[in-house]
Symmetry: C2
Subunit: 382 residues, 2 copies
């Protein structure tokens, strides 16, 4: 029986993780859940999965939750999140909170020796060197839940990773992939949230349209698979059927494919190295008819270029890239800036940042905070 | 140092095997070579690779060869072929002769405990149950060299094969894939030999156009991967970039891809489980632009249907399917029958065959010989 805790249980990945768990009650129990502000959904999850501890965003919400639920420890805030991550009997922690808030609890879970199902990409983006070193020292496995990294991980099963030539992450191109750059000046939030292939949260859907998401994945892949940036490529693949692939030194390529369904990579992480039945639709290539591929145009997707640049710069640069983007996306979602100004915000914050090399966790958190202040304060022409 | 013998060294696979070997002189030596009638090429191979034994098709050719070459044992005929397969110091035998002539020497090589690089598909088609049982008893590995089976083999690396849902072999569709059935009545030998993607021998190129080749691969896969026929599918994929793929129970699909170059699967078999650099062109999906897939229409490709039927019938039926096809293709290549009559010959021979269940080797060889006589004698309307 695997005991699982989920950070971000009311989000898209969290809900799908619970869906996977509910199909295998003989294999999994839920030890603890951390939600955010969706108390109603969290209550349903508590009644159904009976965790011992839960955590919510604020003290106020915790008090409200305690009025309705008994027999469970109710915690809150960043401290609550970290306790859910590290201070339970869980063997396995799914880190599915969005953004750099996931960093500290993920480190706490690794320190506590939990196997990690990693869906929070900012953890490796901001502090890859610290996270990987700690995981190595604590002999903790980081199992990727992102579809792209899960794909690479599946392709490497049984292979000698020193024989990799390069890996290629596929990108759907996001909600605006068929529009030119000129057509992006006045796109709306509503339009940005219409992802063609995947049903995901708002932030990641915008990140998909700007390719920031792919940029974060490139940086994450650099750490997960210990590869230099010139061995990590991106190709646009509108159908999102090939989730990513690996080219070996013999020029043989192994790819992982499937109908887009996050429950497959989630379950693979939970059951690795086993494979069990999922409710995902089987892939019928002859019904799809064709898979398309286009090269990446960095002029069309400058945020991806910025991601590679900050990844190569290293130190605090990726944390700043990520934090600036988080604020910029939040500002876009509330109508404060326009879509193309997301990249302006990231560019300007990165340009004014003095990168700290080999940063300690505090340096990273300070850079993250600094970048958020800069990105919030930045004036943008309307 | 791996000591290699090659059955069929002057054919397409044999030549490419020697090309692979020539790139890694520190890893491979050539122990023995069996060619057919191309004495000139065999002499060049002997001078370059210095085998201890060679074999040719006939006594006459052996005598001719002895006039020009010294310091090497020159053998001939089926006995020579079997001696090359089994009576040398080789660790590894590549069985790349075409047709059911490969069966006896392959069995001899397995009996002698050699690791097999299997490029002769008729071996498993005709006598799968005998070959697999012998390989198991002698603890001999059969490493596939066919691009499709090598692809499946690579996809299964590190995986639990009991978790396979199904495997799918891709088929280019051959030289006539864009023609309707009606357009096939008067196609010429020359047209049949223009394969769109692969440069191969004449017999296999015709088999590709009729889909007999894919049918033989389906039967071969049944034995190599121990799967029932309803878990082996075929899809038309004109670009031949995805060489085949495996769907697991979680509906995750692992595919092997690459530019069409037989040196990749040949080398993979020779160096397994290692991967070394090959001269194959790297795959650039964004240059190719699109990969296409079409369902198999058994009315368009009745030979594939016959292959499944004879595979399911089992016993001597697959050997008869294969032998009838070999004769039919030879008759087509010398202008004796028309392209669509290949399927008529196979159909008629199979229809008049009484299948022997669990046949011994002699039963298989007798059925093979009977089928050849039938197929040769069969009158076809001109």
């Amino acid at each position: 029986m695997k005991r699982v805790s989920i950070l971000g249980s009311t989000g898209s990945i969290g809900k799908q993780t619970l869906d996977v768990i509910s199909r295998y009650p003989e294999r999994f129990t839920v030890e603890a859940l951390a939600g955010g502000t969706n108390i109603q959904l969290l209550m349903e999850q508590i009644l159904r999965f009976r965790p011992k501890k839960v955590s919510v965003a604020s003290k106020h919400l915790a008090e409200e939750l305690r009025l309705h639920i008994s027999g469970v420890d109710v915690l809150y805030g960043d401290e609550g999140l970290t306790e859910i991550a590290a201070c339970t009997d869980a063997d396995f922690v799914v880190t599915a909170v969005v953004g750099s808030r996931g960093l500290k609890p993920t480190l706490a879970a690794i320190e506590a020796g939990k196997t990690i199902g990693l869906a929070n990409k900012e953890t490796l983006v901001s502090a890859g060197h610290i996270v990987m070193e700690l995981a190595k020292r604590r002999c903790v496995q980081l199992l990727p839940i992102d579809s792209e990294h899960s794909a690479i991980f599946q392709c490497l099963n049984g292979e000698d990773i020193s024989r990799i030539n390069k890996i290629t992450l596929t990108a759907s191109g996001g909600s605006f992939r068929d529009r030119s750059r000129d057509e992006l000046h006045h796109v709306t939030v509503h339009e940005a949230l219409q992802h063609p292939n995947w049903s995901m949260g708002a932030k990641i859907t915008v990140d998909s349209a700007t390719m920031v998401n792919k940029g974060l994945e490139v940086i994450e892949a650099r750490w997960l698979f210990d590869l230099p940036y010139d061995r990590i490529e991106v190709v646009i693949h509108p159908e999102s059927i090939i989730h990513s692939f690996v080219e070996f030194v013999d020029h043989s390529v192994i790819a992982q494919m499937g109908t887009p369904d996050m429950r497959v990579p989630i379950q693979y992480a939970l059951t690795y190295p086993e494979r069990l039945i999922t409710p995902a639709q089987p892939l019928k290539l002859w019904e799809i008819g064709a898979l398309h591929f286009r090269p990446i145009d960095f002029n069309r997707y400058p945020c991806l270029k910025l991601a590679y640049e900050s990844g190569r710069a290293g130190g605090t640069a990726p944390a700043v890239f990520n934090a600036a983007n988080e604020v910029a996306v939040a500002r876009f979602l509330k109508g404060d800036i326009r879509f193309l100004q997301i990249e302006d915000v990231i560019y300007d914050v990165l340009a004014s940042h003095e990168t700290v090399s080999s940063p300690a966790l505090d340096d990273i958190l300070a850079a993250d905070e600094w970048a958020r202040r800069q990105a919030s304060a930045m004036k943008t022409p309307s």
